[in-house]
């Protein structure tokens, strides 16, 4: 029997994590990463003067501390409320990840933002978001109660989603490298094109049958919409960060554009991963019917989702 409390708590932690990722994005976008030169205290204090770049960096630390504590609560709750052993370990793994993330955050400050630590810190943040998001998914009612849907396209949809999610994760790594080192922009562009193409294929695939249409189409449309918005944001960020005559201080339009672009990237990864997992949970491969057969079968073959 699933724990509703655990599910809702996991949703809370996931939402908090997205806010934390946005706060981290603001730190990078405002170039405030080294405004507090010490760690774990800030200028030797728990609460330093909140001026200049310190506002962004210290706020990020405060939110990170809160998310850390929330994740500890998640692990404890999962250990007590979950009967599935792998779900318990997932929650514990999330806690371990957030602790590692805090250490990486400290190392970025102590070693003055070496690129590889900053990139790892950024990518681990997205990974942590995914861990918590998955925990929220597997504790949801759909995961435990929804019937499976036979689909001739189950295999191809699942493979397409795995590929897309992998591309998105690579894209986040490429994006972090661009942000922290200025290198690799061309790979970022290529991956963006591939992801856009794949998200379109996903929508088309999910629309080919009634069963998948009801189960996954809305989620696929959400992914497609987010990817489209991200493409525009990426273009805007590219233009704004290369504006001639840009001074030492990034203007607010640039800060907002790059921060939202980075945060949306994390959300897209999560949405794609959850769609992938849902496809495995909800879709069953229909046997003895090749995928190349075009006609739509009769409606009695499929079992719909519970109301």
């Amino acid at each position: 029997m699933r724990s509703v409390v655990l599910h809702r708590y996991a949703l809370l932690v996931a939402a908090s994590t997205l806010i934390l990722i946005a706060a981290g994005g603001l730190v990078t976008s405002t170039d405030s990463g080294l405004s507090v030169p010490d760690w774990p205290l800030s200028y030797g204090q728990v609460m330093p003067p909140m001026i200049g770049g310190i506002r962004f960096e210290h706020t990020h630390r405060l939110i990170a501390g809160t998310v850390g504590l929330l994740t500890l609560g998640l692990a404890v709750l999962a250990w007590r409320a979950e009967r599935r052993r792998w779900a318990r370990w997932l929650a514990l793994g999330a806690f371990g990840t957030v602790v590692l993330q805090a250490v990486l955050g400290g190392l970025t400050v102590i070693y003055l933002l070496p690129d590889w630590i900053s990139v790892t810190h950024a990518c681990l943040a997205q990974t942590f978001l995914c861990l918590v998001g998955v925990l929220a998914l597997v504790t949801a009612r759909e995961w435990s109660e929804a019937p499976r849907i036979e689909s001739r396209y189950a295999g191809s949809i699942q493979r397409l989603l795995i590929t897309t999610t992998a591309f998105i994760y690579l894209q986040l790594i490429a994006g972090a490298i661009v942000r922290h080192s200025g290198q690799g922009l061309r790979y970022h562009f290529v991956l963006a094109f591939l992801i856009a193409l794949h998200s379109l294929f996903i929508i088309l695939k999910c629309s080919r049958e009634q069963g998948t249409l009801r189960a996954l189409f809305g989620h696929a449309l959400l992914l497609g919409g987010l990817v489209t918005a991200q493409a525009f944001l990426g273009f805007a960020s590219f233009i704004l960060t290369r504006r001639p005559g840009r001074g030492e201080v990034a203007p607010m339009t640039e800060v907002l554009s790059t921060t939202v672009h980075q945060t949306l990237g994390a959300l897209i990864l999560l949405v794609s991963l959850l769609l992938t997992l849902r496809s495995y949970r909800l879709l069953a491969r229909r046997r003895n019917v090749p995928e190349s057969h075009a006609p739509e079968p009769a409606s009695g073959v499929f079992k719909g989702l519970p109301s």
């Binding site: 405002t30 170039d31 405030s32 990463g33 080294l34 405004s35 507090v36 030169p37 010490d38 200028y43 330093p48 003067p49 001026i51 200049g52 770049g53 310190i54 506002r55 003055l112 001074g247 030492e248 201080v249 990034a250």
Partner: protein
């Protein structure tokens, strides 16, 4: 008498060996001008810090390009890039670097390797000094208290090292680190003087934060020499 003469010759030889070209040295002076319309100075709000805002209620003008009334370009770092020979003692006196009025002062300066940079916070607010050096270890120092002093130095030559405040993003300065003393920074009128340059052939480079670098060859004898550069907007 013979002993006195020998002592004098020995002292002179030691002096020449210690300071090569000491017998023939001259000052290199010049002026650096800016051609064309000086760019409009961007004004940055200092609202991020109440102390800075109180000092600059209308904002802080971008000080990257300062052109004097007669077209002189300030804050150009002029130095001998090639042609210097011999070793030079590290000066015992420090180079002063201040955080005052929520700005770095001086904005551009020269310093020799291992010479002490004395960093002072003259403001009643929290500042931070981060050196973005590539050839020497970087430092990122919090200076939260007015009157606080810190001492640092750079191990290896580097032209130029950007120094920034990570708390106040408009604050930036540049240090030219050299293993010899032949450098200068232009004043408000664009003038500069490099003192005591021994006779010889040199490559002189002028660096500006926004307008890049220019070089010229010069041969110095025992008379003062003059040199000029003209920068213009890209």
């Amino acid at each position: 008498m013979r002993h006195r003469t020998f002592a004098l010759v020995t002292l002179l030889a030691a002096g020449i060996l210690r300071f090569p070209g000491m017998a023939h040295a001259a000052d290199l002076t010049g002026k650096i001008l800016f051609e064309g319309q000086a760019p409009v100075k961007e004004v940055q709000k200092a609202d991020a810090d109440p102390t800075c805002k109180a000092m600059h209620p209308q904002g802080i003008e971008n000080d990257s390009v300062i052109v004097g009334a007669d077209g002189g370009l300030k804050n150009v770092f002029v130095y001998v890039k090639e042609g210097v020979t011999g070793a030079f003692e590290t000066p015992k006196e420090s180079v002063a670097f201040d955080q005052s009025g929520c700005q770095y002062k001086p904005k551009v300066f020269g310093i020799q390797t291992k010479q002490t940079l004395e960093i002072l916070n003259s403001d009643a607010t929290l500042h931070n000094v981060h050196s973005l050096s590539a050839n020497s270890p970087q430092f990122n120092l919090g200076m939260p208290i007015k009157g606080m002093k810190l001492k640092k130095s750079f191990d290896k030559p580097e032209v130029m090292i950007k120094i920034k405040c990570e708390v106040h993003p408009w604050m930036a300065a540049y240090a030219g680190v050299l293993d010899h003393p032949f450098f200068a920074v232009t004043a408000e009128d664009g003038s500069f003087t490099i003192k005591g340059l021994p006779a010889g052939a040199y490559v002189i480079e002028a660096w500006h934060e926004k307008f890049g670098v220019q070089t010229q060859n010069v041969t110095v004898a025992d008379q003062p020499q003059s040199l000029s550069f003209n920068f213009k907007a890209a």
